[in-house]
């Protein structure tokens, strides 16, 4: 029998504020963290959480990772000393882009003052694994440690990799998630050039008027522990990652495969991995980007994977409240989903007002509603992540 991986802590820095709790409470209350066409973490003041040295040496994405990790580890109740052999504690933190702000700043230095004046901190700040390295160093995590690179599926791939690490026995615990900070001049220029961003600056997934995604920033991190070890140390179990499935479109650099078949396969693989049938699914946290193509392909994928049950399962998108956090999205949305399972409250898809005749699932319009389960068993949710490049990831989470 497979070793099981339970969630004992979670943390987040999002456009709705610093802390996972504020993400759930404000989203459930229908509040948005988006302003002026971007989901910036306006409340985040790094010096409140990090030393001068940490602030200087970490790109913004790694700062987010460090703050979200500290919250998750605190909630897990890990003290000064790790509850496990440090070599059995892993760390997997994704990012879509890495330290783009550092690249831009140091590129300016090179142009203005010459190549010799480029900071020696450039590479350690912008390398995509910097977030994972910073978290591992801060907390003394000496097991497998790496970054994951799969654009907007990164956060979910990280959690899936961490799940497998625990199931295989390579780790007894893993600190895992994703972080992103791309709200820079160059970041906007590049995404705007693709015409991926909403010209109206409104994130309205699944709505007929959706016109692109709104870029956000932040981080989400969870602490995963092997179930028996967590129980033995008396940890409070908040939820369990029970399934992981991942496929590739092998279709187009940016557009999703329109039939939704490769994405539906990821969902089906995750459900099979979890040993759950569509009847046992109570909620879907959608990738739901607010682009024409994603929301149509995701709806098609959910219908293929869930069959006639698809229309009965509430589907909502966290991106309606915070925008698209790219490589952090899957992790932040896992943090959101864990809280939905724990609180039994489903926050709505904000700004969903005009139904698209082609998209006919229950997208939880208007306001939050109670999460209801069949037979009083613990609730089960799917969290989807899809990405430029054709990456599809589905996680299945179970509450307690």
């Amino acid at each position: 029998m497979k070793r099981r991986a339970v969630i004992t802590g979670f943390g987040a820095v999002t456009p709705l504020g610093v802390g996972a709790r504020t993400l759930h409470e404000r989203w459930a209350a229908g509040e948005s963290g988006i302003a002026d066409g971007a989901g910036a973490c306006r409340d985040f003041e790094p010096k409140e959480y990090l030393s001068v040295k940490e602030v200087r040496r970490l790109d913004r994405f790694s700062q987010f990772a460090l703050v979200a990790s500290a919250e998750a580890i605190r909630q897990a109740g890990w003290g000064e000393e790790l509850p496990y052999d440090p070599f059995q504690v892993g760390c997997v933190i994704a990012t879509g882009i890495g330290g783009i702000e550092t690249v831009e700043t140091q590129h300016d230095v090179m142009r203005d003052k010459g190549a010799k004046m480029v900071s020696p901190l450039g590479v350690p700040q912008y390398m995509p694994n910097a977030g994972a390295a910073a978290v591992a160093m801060k907390h003394g995590l000496q097991g497998q440690m790496y970054g994951v690179v799969s654009a907007c599926s990164g956060g979910a791939h990280a959690i899936g990799s961490a799940l497998r690490m625990i199931q295989y026995g390579d780790a007894d615990a893993v600190v895992t998630g994703g972080a992103e900070a791309t709200l820079t001049e160059f970041g906007f220029a590049c995404f705007n050039a693709m015409q991926a961003l909403s010209p109206t600056g409104i994130s309205r997934p699944f709505d007929a008027r959706r016109d692109g995604f709104v870029m956000g920033e932040g981080a989400g991190v969870i602490v995963l522990e092997e179930a028996e070890a967590a129980e033995a140390r008396g940890a409070t179990v908040l939820a369990e990652v029970i399934g992981y499935g991942s496929t590739s479109d092998a279709f187009h650099l940016t557009a999703p495969e329109p039939s939704g078949r490769p994405a539906s396969k990821a969902i089906s693989l995750a459900l099979a991995d979890a040993g759950v049938t569509p009847v046992g699914v109570d909620y879907v946290n959608a990738h739901g980007t607010s682009t024409q193509l994603n929301d149509a392909a995701e709806t098609a994928a959910l219908k293929l994977a869930l069959g006639e049950r698809a229309g009965d399962i509430p589907v909502s998108s966290t991106k309606s409240a915070i925008g698209h956090l790219l490589g952090a999205a899957g992790a932040v949305e896992a943090v959101a989903t864990v809280q939905i399972l724990a609180e039994r409250i489903i926050p709505p898809t904000l700004n969903y007002e005009v139904p698209d005749p082609e998209l006919d699932l229950d997208y939880v319009p208007g306001e939050a509603r109670p999460l209801t389960m069949n037979n009083g068993r613990p609730p089960v949710a799917i969290s989807n992540s899809f990405a430029f490049g054709g990456h599809n990831v589905s996680l299945v989470l179970r509450g307690v």
Binding site: S51, V52, R56, S119, P120, L121
Partner: protein, 80 residues
């Protein structure tokens, strides 16, 4: 001929090191870089500041020999 004083360089070095993280009150001439948690990456940054300010080029092998804040100040002054 040297155009900068020992005091001027010391003030500038202390200011630079303080911006790297250590408590300014601990940055004395006798303080070692190890005590101040100043590592090789910080020293490269310090070398860049010194070159920018005084035109003194400090190479990797120069920096390796430095143990204390005073060592760095003396080296810079001797080359300025």
């Amino acid at each position: 001929m040297s155009t900068v004083t020992n005091e001027q360089v010391e003030t500038r070095v202390v200011e630079a090191l303080a911006s790297f993280g250590p408590d300014p009150s601990q940055i004395t001439r006798d303080a070692t870089f190890e005590e101040l948690d100043i590592d090789s990456l910080d020293l490269v940054e310090l070398a860049q500041i010194v070159e920018d300010e005084y035109g003194v080029v400090l190479k990797g092998e120069d920096m390796k020999e430095l143990k204390t804040v005073g060592d760095a100040v003396d080296l810079i002054v001797s080359r300025a």
